[in-house]
C-alpha cells in the first residue's frame, strides 16, 4: 500500500495547522515533508515533465501556505492540497499550450515500424503507449485512482468533477485499454 513517508494523524495535522497559523512557520516543513511525494506525483501525472512538476508542486505548497486560513477543516487537508496541486498543474499545462486535446477516438496504428518494435517490446510497453492515447481527463482519473491512496470520491474532489463522471472515466479508460490490448493480441495471433 502506497503511503506518504511517515504517518500523521488528522488531529496532529490540525494541531500543526494551528501552530503554523499562530506564526510558527517552521512547522510547515513537516506538512511539506509528509505530502511532497504525493503532490509531486500528481504534478508529474499531469505535466509529464520532472522539472516543471517540481516547480508546480513547490508553488502549490507556497499557495497552500498563504491560503491556509481559508482551509475548511471539514475536508481532509490532503484533498484540499492535492486539488491546489492539480489545478496549478493544469494551469501550467495550459500555459505550455499542451492543451487538453481529445484524442479519445484516435486509433493506434500498426505501422511496419510498429510491427518490428512490437516483436521487441512487451505488452507493458504497448499498454503504456495506449495510455498516452487516452483522453487526458480519463488518463488522469485512472492514474490517480490507481495511486490507491485516493478513493473515487477523493479523485472526483481533486479534479473538481462529479463522482459519477469519474466512475465513468475510470471504467471507460480501462475498457479502452483492454480493447487496445485485444487488438494487439489479435494482431500478434495473425502474424504468428
Amino acid at each position: 500500500m502506497l503511503r506518504p513517508s511517515d504517518v500523521i494523524t488528522r488531529q496532529e495535522e490540525f494541531e500543526l495547522i494551528d501552530q503554523i497559523l499562530a506564526g510558527d512557520t517552521n512547522r510547515y516543513a513537516r506538512l511539506v515533508d509528509h505530502y511532497k511525494s504525493f503532490a509531486f506525483t500528481i504534478a508529474m501525472k499531469v505535466l509529464e515533465n520532472r522539472a516543471e512538476a517540481e516547480e508546480v508542486a513547490q508553488d502549490s505548497f507556497i499557495k497552500a501556505y498563504h491560503y491556509l486560513k481559508t482551509f475548511n477543516r471539514e475536508a481532509k487537508f490532503s484533498t484540499w492540497l492535492y486539488r491546489i496541486v492539480f489545478n496549478t498543474a493544469i494551469s501550467q499545462k495550459r500555459k505550455n499550450k499542451h492543451a487538453f486535446v481529445s484524442i479519445e477516438n484516435k486509433i493506434i496504428e500498426y505501422s511496419e515500424r510498429a510491427d518490428i518494435d512490437l516483436e521487441k517490446e512487451d505488452k507493458q510497453v504497448f499498454i503504456a503507449r495506449a495510455m498516452e492515447q487516452l483522453n487526458e481527463a480519463d488518463r488522469l482519473s485512472i492514474q490517480l485512482y490507481y495511486l490507491k491512496e485516493f478513493s473515487l470520491e477523493e479523485v472526483a474532489d481533486m479534479m473538481g468533477q462529479n463522482l459519477n463522471t469519474i466512475k465513468v472515466r475510470v471504467h471507460r479508460a480501462r475498457q479502452r485499454l483492454a480493447d487496445e490490448l485485444n487488438k494487439l493480441l489479435k494482431h500478434e495471433a495473425l502474424t504468428l
Partner: protein, 174 residues
C-alpha cells in the same frame, strides 16, 4: 456469448477490482468458466489492472524540495491577472498613447474644443420637480488632461504589479 455486453464489462471490472460480494463473485466466476469470450476479456482486463497497479508508484522530488518551499514562503505570490510579458506590452501601448496625447495637448490640438452643455429640466416632460437649468462647459484640454492622468495611473499600477514587484520578489528569493 459472442461479445462482452456493457453489463458484463462492468461486472468483470468489478470482479478484477475485488468489488463484488461473495455470492456475486461466485456467480461471475461460474459464468467466466463457461464462456471463452469472458475468459479472454478477463485476461485483458487483468493485464491492464496489473499494469496500472505496477505503475502506481510515488515519484520522489529532489532532496532539497522542502527547503526550497520553506524559502519561498516569505515571498507572497503575485496573482495579478496579467503575465509580465502581457503587462509589459500593455504598458508600452499605454505609454505610446499617453506620449501622443501629451504631444497633441502641448501642440494645442484640444484648445479649440470647448462645448457648452445645457441641461434644461423643462425638456424632460416627465420630471415635475422644478430644477434649475444646468450649464456645464466641456473643456477639451481638461478632458484630455484627466484622461492622460488616469492612463498614467493605470500605467503606474501595471508597472508595479507586472514588472517591478515580480522582479524584486524573484531577487529577494534568490
Amino acid at each position: 456469448m459472442e461479445k462482452v455486453t456493457t453489463a458484463w464489462e462492468e461486472l468483470l471490472q468489478r470482479y478484477v477490482d475485488n468489488d463484488l460480494d461473495t455470492t456475486e463473485q461466485r456467480k461471475v466466476a461460474l459464468e467466466i468458466e463457461k464462456s471463452v469470450v469472458l475468459q479472454n476479456r478477463l485476461v485483458e482486463l487483468k493485464a491492464i489492472h496489473d499494469f496500472l497497479v505496477g505503475n502506481a508508484k510515488l515519484e520522489m522530488p529532489a532532496k532539497n524540495f522542502t527547503e526550497k518551499v520553506m524559502q519561498g514562503l516569505s515571498v507572497r505570490p503575485s496573482y495579478f491577472f496579467l503575465s509580465p510579458r502581457n503587462g509589459l506590452l500593455l504598458l508600452i501601448g499605454i505609454i505610446s498613447m499617453c506620449s501622443l496625447g501629451f504631444i497633441l495637448l502641448s501642440a494645442g490640438a484640444f484648445d479649440a474644443f470647448n462645448m457648452p452643455l445645457t441641461l434644461d429640466p423643462q425638456a424632460l416632460k416627465s420630471v415635475k420637480i422644478n430644477l434649475p437649468t444646468l450649464n456645464v462647459s466641456l473643456n477639451g484640454k481638461w478632458m484630455m488632461r484627466t484622461f492622460l492622468f488616469l492612463n498614467c495611473a493605470v500605467a503606474f499600477v501595471l508597472l508595479d504589479r507586472t514588472i517591478l514587484r515580480p522582479y524584486f520578489q524573484r531577487r529577494a528569493s534568490m
